[in-house]
């Protein structure tokens, strides 16, 4: 990257603009952010999708013993299965649950099929349906129409959806998708500044919409960077400061999943989760072992192992990863 204005000059110049003066109170720690925005009965949307998932934040929710949660989402993997098994979640609205290639979500199945530890209510939409419910929420509209889900059982079993004929006269049937308005969106990103400008490298999934649809947004980030660093790559900012309430630096916050440009997924770790979560007793032992403050969790995983995951990601996405070139 070349810049018309030298970075040193930029910093000097921006000191007079006033970025530094505002919004530092958004920077907090993970325990405080979850305590403030995730309480019993909250509705939550999580960012990422089998990559860049806010796993550390979800483990903190489990650690705090929060219950009665509704998860409004698209496709959700291990973090959701853990929360369901731990008894935190009552309802799921979304398109897909499992733990990806490794296994089905055993806790999700136990909860839906057998009420263990208690019943989980499912409200299905398609993947586009989940994008649109966050788009409707972000736009503050009562619905967004689509052709997806027509003539299937998705609207049959989800009373929130409606099928109508186009009122403007084309005669086309349409499915109306209502807005998702979660109490809080929790999004993990590579870089964020104290103002809450969140930069995402690689794919975005629905994170830009979830932050806008939610009442409050917590951004957890691999790296807290100065605002002048954000200004050098504004095209990477997908979540703007005015949608963000709390910013927390959480290195390896997506482990065991991928974080593009930072570290590869720890496949053996979530494979082990898949195996141990098949049995209720073994799952409870897993919870005892791994639900702990994030720093302690990372120590248990081990620095060498984390370094290997970073090396793996560098091997495939290291050369041109944005952000790295500026440093």
């Amino acid at each position: 990257m070349t810049h018309a204005i030298d970075a040193t000059d930029t910093a000097t110049r921006l000191a007079e603009v006033g970025d530094d003066a505002a919004d530092h109170e958004k920077v907090t720690d993970l325990v405080s952010a979850i305590e403030e925005y995730v309480t019993d009965g909250s509705s939550i949307a999580f960012g990422g999708m089998g990559g860049r998932d806010p796993e550390a934040a979800a483990r903190e929710i489990v650690r705090q013993g929060t219950t009665g949660l509704t998860v409004l989402d698209d496709a959700r993997t291990t973090l959701f299965d853990i929360m369901v098994g731990a008894g935190c979640v009552d309802e799921y609205v979304g398109s897909w649950v499992g733990t990806s290639l490794i296994s089905q979500g055993h806790n999700v199945r136990s909860a839906v099929e057998n009420d263990v530890p208690h019943h989980l209510e499912m409200r299905d939409v398609s993947n586009f349906g989940s994008s649109l419910m966050f788009l409707a929420g972000a736009m503050d509209l009562p619905f967004v129409p689509t052709r997806s889900m027509l003539d299937t059982d998705i609207p049959t079993h989800n009373d929130d959806l409606a099928v109508i004929e186009d009122p403007l006269g084309s005669g086309d049937p349409l499915v109306l998708v209502p807005p998702a308005r979660p109490d809080v969106a929790i999004i993990h990103v590579q870089r964020c500044d104290p103002m809450g400008n969140a930069q995402i490298l690689g794919n975005v999934v629905n994170d830009h919409l979830k932050a806008r649809a939610a009442e409050h947004t917590i951004v957890t980030c691999e790296e807290l960077v100065p605002t002048e660093e954000i200004r050098r790559r504004p095209e990477l900012t997908r979540i703007p400061f005015y949608t963000v309430d709390a910013v927390v630096e959480v290195p390896f916050g997506s482990h065991p999943w991928h974080c593009y440009g930072k570290y590869y997924a720890d496949l053996p770790f979530y494979r082990e989760y898949g195996l141990r979560s098949r049995d209720r007793e073994e799952f409870l032992e897993w919870l005892d072992e791994w639900i702990c403050p994030h720093e302690e969790y990372l120590e248990k995983v081990g620095a060498d192992r984390l370094a290997t995951l970073e090396h793996m990601e560098q091997t495939i996405n290291g050369a041109d990863s944005a952000g790295e070139t500026d440093e």
């Binding site: 990559g51 398109s95 990601e313 495939i316």
Partner: protein
């Protein structure tokens, strides 16, 4: 057909440069392959060169990557998490696997991908399902049985993108295991729309997508006739038409000239094994778990390197 005992044997093959990977006589029929490998190859061959292919996780993604590395180098892979034009150097563990970002043309968001999908931008989609009926309607939400949607017999993962793909992709390929309980007279829940109750229905609804065009299983390949009914087209080597009928609940339509599904080539099998070094998709083994972290990471890195080398060779030859 036999089960392969170890991963990564392609590394020991002669280093003579051939396509698609370093293996002797790549175009010849493979003499050693598994049923799952045949399934992956048969699905990959459904993607034509130059097409835009919308693919999901697991086997469908494997087949897309295989197509890209073999007969369809100019196909472009699309995934619902936001990547277009990926050239992943190995098996994809999840829909946001960072290797989907390797040499991709686009990294965007899910809403944009499905907006393009609804307009008909993508030629072919590949999905999986838990149940299918004779008109290609699929269920990946819940096997309900005598129970209810709220407390089903088996809760499946859900639609994911399968509903949207089947609604709007130019045509859709469904990959499944051939089982009588899955090839059912009536699916318990329609997750993705096949040819619905009559052949004009999709047009009435305004769908741009043609719906299911092929079903590829571990026993056979099916197409659909003008009525929208599934038709058996080829059976895999060693599988009879009656074998397939036994695994289908309805009175199956069978093409006049059912042939044997073409077998995988040596090149295709070598490539598949290079894409999935840890046997995660192809064999579903506990290999990864058993070897532990260090060997897993070494194996994956080694195989990525191998596939990146192939990519570079291919680039140089153009």
């Amino acid at each position: 057909m036999s089960d392969r005992s170890t991963a990564g044997e392609t590394a020991d093959l002669p280093a003579e440069p051939t396509t698609p990977i370093r293996v002797d006589r790549p175009a010849e029929t493979a003499d050693d392959y598994t049923t799952t490998e045949l399934l992956a190859v048969a699905a990959a061959r459904q993607i034509d060169d130059g097409e835009t292919a919308f693919i999901g996780v697991g086997m469908s993604l494997m087949s897309g990557i295989l197509a890209k590395y073999t007969h369809a180098p100019d196909c472009q892979l699309v995934t619902e998490s936001g990547y277009i034009g990926s050239v992943p150097p190995g098996v994809v563990q999840s829909i946001s696997d960072t290797i989907l970002g390797v040499d991709a043309l686009v990294a965007t968001d899910q809403c944009e991908i499905f907006v393009d999908n609804q307009r008909g931008a993508f030629d072919v989609g590949i999905i999986g399902a838990g149940q299918i009926d004779s008109r290609g309607n699929t269920n990946s939400t819940a096997v309900i049985g005598d129970a209810t949607y709220d407390r089903p017999k088996v809760r499946l993962p859900g639609s994911g993108g399968s509903n949207d793909i089947m609604t709007s992709c130019g045509r859709t390929v469904v990959m499944m295991r051939q089982q009588r309980r899955a090839f059912t007279t009536e699916v318990d829940y329609v997750t993705a729309p096949g040819h619905l109750e009559h052949s004009d229905r999709r047009e009435e609804l305004g769908f741009v997508g043609g719906g299911p065009a092929a079903v590829v299983t571990d026993m056979a390949v099916f197409g659909f006739d003008d009525d929208g009914e599934m038709v058996l087209e080829t059976t895999h080597p060693g599988v009879s038409v009656d074998d397939v009928r036994d695994e289908v609940q309805w009175d199956l339509r069978v093409a006049d000239d059912v042939e044997t599904t073409p077998e995988p080539t040596r090149g295709e099998v070598a490539m598949l094994r290079a894409i999935d070094p840890a046997d995660v998709v192809l064999r579903g083994t506990d290999y990864v778990y058993e070897v532990g972290f260090e060997e897993w990471s070494d194996t994956v890195l080694e195989h990525w390197e191998q596939l990146r080398t192939v990519q570079n060779d291919t680039d140089d030859s153009r």
